[in-house]
Symmetry: C2
Subunit: 227 residues, 2 copies
DNA sequence: GGGGCTAAGATTGCATCCAGTCATCGCGAT
DNA sequence: ATCGCGATGACTGGATGCAATCTTAGCCCC
């Protein structure tokens, strides 16, 4: 086959594997790769202009992250979560994100807090679901950006990743309006952080996540295989 | 080269990669592969009777777990933790293990609780550090064995893995005696679980981990590169 | 008509091989 | 003598090829 693949002469950044992993991660987050969808190595390889070896390494990485389910000699599938499993992830977040905030908060600058305010405002204005989710994620990640942690930051990011698809399904379902309480909570988080009340902010974050978990649980139809 | 490598005719169990990962994990846990030690792909490959490809997949997996640090085009090293980073892991455990216990406790049988009691007693009797650590781990893992979780169980196991080496260094240092409080706490955990007081047991576990974290912090010399 | 078996095709898993990158050592210049 | 620089060697990252396995489609039998 004419796999010309005129790669920039020798782009050996030594990270085709990382690039593929990031690409798959992104495709799953955007819903392009839906839960339960089978991932064939050759397809992925072609899509990202690589051979199957780095693809396999990427899949291994994503499996450990929980995004992909691997079965020996059979193949890889995008992980599908039950409602119960999704609640487990949210409960885990309820415990970890307040802790992460404790690491981060002391190092947040006034500028960062301003940016968070701006994101909160932009969220209230947007009508687009995808944009809403993007801003929401950026808001929270920004609040954690001060913490230089070994694994806690990555861990929380992974938990967000595994549930991203269901968050989108939910948000699409309930519409971005009637989410006034989300904006209030976001503003409250920024306010308490400005006051230096880390404990209060952490408490609000915990409640924020718990409330979202309960909202999700009220819509179990999101988790029934679309068939 | 005479790489005869007379493998059992055709052992395609489809899991050389898993076997290698498990092997490395174990070698690190046993201290055979010490923190900071470089891991050369070819050596590992030969050691486990495989080629470099499954070794690379295994290393990727272990990197995601936090046990190994990979640098592009350079190599792999056994991850080394600072005291601060080790405390982060312990703080994470303080938040997650009580939650995991909530998942597990309702499904623990009387037999399992008896086994835990037995393990606690055996710990009090042993003089051997390695045996002490093995029993301790088994005690706690048994207490979590009732929970059928998606990721929480694996997560906790990984956190134990990344700190195993430092736990051993500490235990070797302070000796297994004078650990009376550990045994008391273990017995208290089993007792509260028998009473069906999950919240109480979870609280004790949290305190148990926090106390251990503080004990570790009192011995920063464990974390100075042995040189 | 439905369930189980069989054979061909598709797909994964691994070993070998090659290209690119990094580290180390020796040499020459200042 | 020390520092900078270039070459050699070792190692990693990636591509291709082959054997083993799984999936699937078709057929037979019930």
């Amino acid at each position: 086959m004419s796999t010309v693949k005129h790669l920039p002469p020798a782009t050996r950044d030594g990270s085709a594997s990382r690039r593929v992993a990031a690409g798959i991660r992104d495709s799953i987050a955007r819903g392009e790769f839906a839960p339960g969808m089978r991932l064939r190595q050759e397809e992925i390889a072609e899509r990202f202009g690589a051979s199957r070896v780095p693809v396999r390494e990427a899949l291994k990485e994503l499996e450990t992250e929980g995004l992909v389910t691997l079965v020996a000699n059979a193949g890889a599938w995008v992980s599908r979560l039950t409602l119960r499993e999704c609640e487990e992830v949210y409960q885990t977040r309820e415990r970890l994100e307040p802790l992460l905030l404790h690491y981060s908060a002391p190092h947040l600058t006034a500028d960062t807090l301003d940016s968070m305010d701006e994101l909160a405002r932009a969220m209230a204005d947007t009508e687009d679901v995808v944009e809403f989710l993007r801003l929401d994620r950026e808001f929270h990640m920004l609040s954690y950006s001060g913490g230089e942690t070994l694994m806690l930051g990555d861990l929380v990011r992974r938990l967000w990743n595994t549930t991203q698809q269901y968050r989108r399904a939910y948000t699409t379902l309930v519409d971005v309006h009637g989410q006034r309480i989300v904006h209030d909570e976001h503003r409250h988080i920024v306010a308490t952080l400005r006051d230096g009340d880390v404990e209060g902010a952490a408490h609000t974050v915990e409640g924020h996540i718990r409330r979202t978990r309960r909202m999700l649980a009220a819509h179990p139809e999101i988790f029934t295989p679309t068939g």
